[in-house]
């Protein structure tokens, strides 16, 4: 008897529609977020992550309406990210029915924001999204830095130090994305995952690069992830959530049936 490792389909949304880009370009449309969420919940997804990739202020209300609609029909945990910059943004998302919010750029601009958010709303609902890119040369010890703005903007901050600091400030979970792997379908950056997971006390969600079910299992077994996140392999029905769970169970990973 143990806590199950979680499988989390991720909905990248733009103006209320689910999209998933390959390396953030070449975006394809995979449907209505409420419909997609319900489908995943019925199929046994353990959580849903909703990332608002536009996150511009004029579309804020669309996002809140979508979150409210999902939360009214889907009774599994829901994390919302994208454009979370102020305590009021967090309150609005939680009031709309989100269970957790994911903070990315705003944490880099003002790390104290994470502390204030965790103090106000509790660590359990504060996820810090860490977008990391390998910056070491092939013959060096591996080193990763965090990037913002969808992986375009370097910060010079070491990813492992940053994850530790965010946990000290009250992050209850880390959503770790390898920017090198995102959209490539060649698997997680397992070294990165393991390094961050072993460095912090809170759960890690591995993200970026899933192309098949073995990648999901590797994320847990070799990457020491507590949860695995994927988008395109589920959106385009290459694999179902149930197939993913059955495969992980066959590799000895505890999952929710």
């Amino acid at each position: 008897m143990a806590l199950a490792k979680r499988i989390i389909p991720c909905l990248d949304c733009d103006k209320g529609r689910v999209v998933k880009g390959v390396k953030f370009v070449d975006i394809r449309d995979a449907g209505d977020p409420v419909e997609v969420s319900r489908r995943y919940s019925d199929a046994g997804a353990d959580e849903i992550t909703f990332l608002d990739i536009t996150a511009s202020h004029e579309h804020r209300d669309t996002t809140i309406d979508t979150v409210r609609a999902i939360a009214g029909q889907v009774f599994i945990p829901l994390t919302v990210g994208g454009g979370i910059r102020k305590l009021e943004d967090i309150r609005a998302m939680l009031n709309a029915g989100a269970d957790k919010v994911s903070i990315n750029t705003a944490a880099v601009i003002d790390p104290e924001f994470v502390r204030a958010a965790a103090e106000r709303f509790g660590s359990q609902c504060i996820v810090v999204a860490v977008d990391a890119k390998r910056v070491s040369a092939a013959d060096e010890a591996p080193r990763w830095e965090i990037f913002t703005h969808g992986g375009r903007k370097p910060t010079g901050i070491d990813a492992i130090d940053w994850a530790r600091r965010m946990v000290d400030y009250g992050a209850g979970e880390i959503l770790l994305t390898s920017m090198d792997r995102d959209g490539t379908k060649i698997g997680f950056d397992l070294e990165l995952n393991r390094a961050v997971s072993d460095a912090v006390s809170v759960p890690i969600i591995a993200s970026g690069g899933v192309g098949n079910l073995e990648h999901l299992a590797q994320g847990v077994i070799e990457g020491h992830a507590d949860a695995v996140l994927a988008a395109s392999i589920f959106h385009f029905q290459e694999y179902t959530i149930q197939e993913a769970k059955a495969y992980m169970a066959s590799r000895g990973v505890e999952v929710r049936e």
Binding site: A4, P77, E119, Q124, C125
Partner: protein
Amino acid sequence: MNKIAVIDYGMGNLHSVAKALEHVGRQADQAVEVVVTPDPGEIAVADRVVFPGVGAIRDCMAEIRRLDVGSMVEQAMQEKPVLAICVGMQALMRHSEENGGVDCLGFMDGEVRFFGSDLRDEDGRRLKVPHMGWNEVIQTTDHPLWQGVADRSRFYFVHSYYVHMHRAELIAGSSHYGAQLVAAVADKNIFATQFHPEKSQTAGLTLLRNFLSWDGQG
């Protein structure tokens, strides 16, 4: 009309629990009215009361005291079915170790303890805190709220502090994460869960549906 009052003291995701109750009411073809309210009058006339809670205990207790939620809960506990969820359950206990130690309502004889920063499983592997995700719940008593829920069903948990009850006979469900933890408590007309039934899909919705028709008898 079955009227359910969800006590709103500004802490946490009340939308979800209200929506889940409405959803199971529809499924059961029951006329259910769910109100999310801090108003003692509304709570007094409800048929059933939900005492939720999310976040840090110090802030929760501060709001509970400021709005006198304690007397609303105490009143409800004397006369109708009450469901306490997560920090709502913890707030019923005597004391919590969170935030350097906080006195809680003391309606139940239990303590809220920290999992610790070096939590390990039986094989010595480190366990992450918060305890976040789906864990099995062993039903330690027969209870109307467990009806139709398979023993050892998984429910969704998210917490860093857990309840220890001094009277084991009040424990209705237990779970394990480095330590034995109280997953559910049943005492007369009150049922309390550490997990979130409103986020626990089929198992959780079944429990909520049972709550809608529960008469408050063990």
